[in-house]
């Protein structure tokens, strides 16, 4: 039940109770007022007694007794009657003293105690002095004569005075009744006015107090509801004067709000710092991810280049095998040529054919050698590119600082392998150059030889020598080919090593990327959490 309803209930109870009191007192006044039921009862009872009893202050009874005494025949009855007459006289005087004490009104007092009492005193004297002696037969008068001539005028005068007294008394009663009625009416009016004024005052005081309390409570209520539901403005204050308990409550509430506002402000500052830290973390991890991705790309490039080197090496080995076969074949042919020199005369024609065949084979060797030159150039270029890549990778690794340390080692390894490749290709280049010049010389010699065979058998010995040299060269060539093969094998092994290194590098790059991804997601979730906290905090306003 709200305070407002309670206040209204108290007011209503008070009004009902007050109205009941008013009604009860109204009823009591109505019961006992002049002219009311009680009054009428009392007056009626008094009237009954007054009607039944003989009036002591009216001389009718003594007067009648006098008649009775005078007219009775039995003298024995006169004694009690005279006693009764004297008793009525005493009663008259007694009542006179009684009323003399009570009546203030001068007019009534004069009528009752003087005007009507004068003839009575004279009546009493005449009874004592003339009537009672007349009964005994003393005096000049008969008793009845005393009554008619002496007492009757006095009774008449007394009767007139009594009637006057009664009239005056009745007039006084009427005026008194009127006064009483007026007093009751005034009293009622005054009671209604006082009750009304008191009720209005009470209502005003109640409304004033209730309104003051309710208005302040409503302000506090509104403020708290604002904080709880809509605009959580922590800066606004109630600022009520601390006159009463509600004001004190508002004051403490304001101090509580100040504490909360301070707390929220501190949390907001911390959340801003945390957010910027989280953003920095996320940015840094993104940067690192980008760097790692570049490493990964470089690794892929290097792996591809290594595979190319490996494939080229295999191709080169095949070519070298073919060249070796050819060389051995030509050696065989040359040997056969030298053997057949002994039977030169007969086999000159055959020799000429064989030399032509050698010429052809040599030109084939020349072509193959040229092919080798092309392949070697390609390998050299690849080795050069690998070297350049490794140098730049090392520079980048240096710049990457702590993260690039491992990669720096790998880059150095790559460079060394590229240098080995370059060295091997240099050897091949040199060998092939020598082979080419040798073959060229052989061809020329063969041409000359063929001419000389055709022109002169004497130069067969010379040719034989030339052939011997050719064989020697081819043998040299064969050993050189073996060297080249070894070089190629080591290059292939090197390429495999690079491949392995690239594999492990790729794994570590992937692991790094994964852990960076986790780190990024942690940083992002931290950022999200901070954003959430900021959102919650933004519900509180700290400034107007």
């Amino acid at each position: 039940m709200t305070f407002k309803k309670r206040f209204v209930l108290i007011g209503a109870l008070f009004v009902v109770g007050y109205a009941a009191m008013l009604l009860i007192s109204w009823g009591i006044v109505e019961e006992v007022r002049i002219g009311g039921a009680t009054y009428e009862q009392v007056v009626t009872d008094k009237d009954v007694i007054a009607d039944v009893l003989p009036p002591p202050r009216f001389m009718i009874e003594p007067y009648l007794l006098c008649y009775e005494i005078a007219t009775t025949d039995n003298a024995m009855d006169r004694g009690p009657m005279i006693m009764e007459l004297k008793a009525s006289f005493e009663m008259y005087d007694e009542r006179g003293a009684y009323w003399a004490e009570r009546i203030d009104d001068p007019k009534l007092r004069k009528l009752l105690l003087e005007t009507s009492a004068g003839p009575v005193r004279e009546f009493q004297e005449i009874v004592e002095n003339e009537f009672l002696p007349a009964l005994k037969g003393e005096g000049d008068w008969e008793p009845l004569d005393v009554i008619t001539s002496r007492l009757e005028p006095l009774f008449s005068a007394h009767k007139a005075a009594v009637k006057q007294t009664v009239a005056v008394a009745e007039q006084r009663i009427r005026s008194n009744e009127q006064n009483a009625r007026d007093a009751v009416e005034r009293g009622r009016l005054l009671a209604i006015i006082v009750a009304g004024a008191f009720g209005v005052l009470l209502l005003g005081a109640g409304l004033w107090t209730g309104r003051a309390i309710l208005a302040r409570m409503r302000r506090i209520n509104t403020r708290v509801r604002e904080l709880a539901e809509a605009d959580a403005n922590l800066a606004a204050r109630l600022d009520m004067e601390r006159g009463d308990e509600v004001g004190e409550l508002a004051g403490w509430f304001d101090r509580f709000l100040e504490k909360i506002a301070g707390l929220v402000k501190a949390v907001q500052r911390s959340s801003v710092q945390l957010t910027s830290t989280a953003t920095q973390m996320a940015a840094t991890s993104h940067e690192q991810e980008a760097t790692i991705n570049r490493f990964g790309a470089s690794t892929t490039q290097i792996a591809a280049a290594t595979k190319e080197i490996s494939a080229t090496g295999v191709e080169l080995m095949q070519t070298m095998g073919e060249v070796g076969d050819v060389a051995r074949e030509s050696a065989d042919v040359a040997t056969a040529g030298r053997e057949s020199l002994s039977g030169m005369q007969t086999s000159m024609g055959t020799l000429a054919d064989s030399s032509a065949s050698i010429s052809t084979k040599l030109s084939v060797i020349n072509e193959k050698a040229a092919d080798i030159g092309v392949v070697v150039t390609t390998i050299t270029k690849v080795a050069d590119q690998t070297n350049l890549l490794s140098v730049n990778a090392a520079i980048e690794a240096e710049k990457a600082g702590e993260y690039g340390k491992g990669f720096l080692v790998v880059a150095r390894e790559i460079r060394r392998l590229a240098d080995q490749t370059a060295g091997a290709t240099l050897d091949i280049e040199q060998t092939v150059g020598e082979m080419q010049s040798a073959v060229s010389a052989g061809v020329m010699e063969m041409d000359k030889f063929t001419e000389q065979v055709r022109s002169s058998v004497d130069r067969v010995r010379q040719v034989s020598g030339q052939l011997g040299r050719i064989i020697e060269q081819v043998e040299v060539l064969t050993t050189r080919f073996d060297l080249v093969r070894e070089g190629m094998t080591s290059q292939s092994e090197g390429a495999m090593q690079i491949n392995d290194a690239m594999g492990s590098l790729s794994d570590s790059v992937r692991q790094t990327t994964e852990s960076l991804g986790e780190f990024t997601s942690v940083a992002e979730s931290l950022k999200d959490a901070m954003q959430g906290l900021k959102g919650e905090l933004s519900a509180f306003r700290l400034e107007e």
């Binding site: 050069d384 070297n387 350049l388 090392a394 520079i395 980048e396």
Partner: protein, 166 residues
């Protein structure tokens, strides 16, 4: 200190790796008429035109031979250690053309036996002599290879181009 080992004439030199942006193959350069002989020409490097100094010509006399290992080292003049990915107009840059650019090596400029190299007015870029592998290598201070005034003249177009967008 990680440094790039280079050859010029018959001698070896090193460049501090921190200032290096990238090593690129030697390509034909745009010649600059009436320029000092050591200026090999202008190189287009990732949208930026930078001068290239022929170190062989500057130090040894003959121009660098056309070899696969004769390469151009792109260096930052102002800021050190910037990543190449941070943009082509990151700052003033210079190319150094030298022979035998194949290795990154660790040298210690403050090692025992290192001395300040003999300086000449002609070549103020030469720094300390440092013992390295059976011999001496000399540090090359890249930022002293070209006088600032000459650099400004050569790259005035760059400055104008970079100011226009803003």
């Amino acid at each position: 200190m990680l440094a790039l080992l280079i050859h010029a004439g018959s001698d070896r030199y090193v460049i501090d790796a921190h200032g290096i942006v990238e090593v690129v193959p030697s390509v034909p350069l745009r010649a600059v008429p009436s320029a000092p002989v050591a200026l090999a020409g202008m190189l287009e490097y990732r949208g930026q035109t930078i001068p290239v100094v022929d170190l062989c010509r500057l130090l040894g006399g003959a121009p660098c031979r056309a070899r696969l290992t004769s390469r151009i080292t792109v260096c930052d003049l102002d800021t050190k250690g910037q990543l190449a990915a941070q943009g082509p107009s990151a700052g003033r840059r210079i190319g150094v053309l030298a022979e035998g650019v194949t290795r990154l090596v660790e040298v210690d400029p403050d090692a025992a036996g290192a001395v300040d190299g003999p300086t000449t007015a002609d070549v103020p870029a030469l720094g300390r002599l440092v013992p390295f592998e059976d011999g001496l290598v000399q540090l090359v201070r890249v930022k002293d290879l070209i006088p600032d005034t000459l650099y400004a003249e050569l790259t005035s177009g760059n400055a104008a181009a970079s100011e226009t967008p803003s």
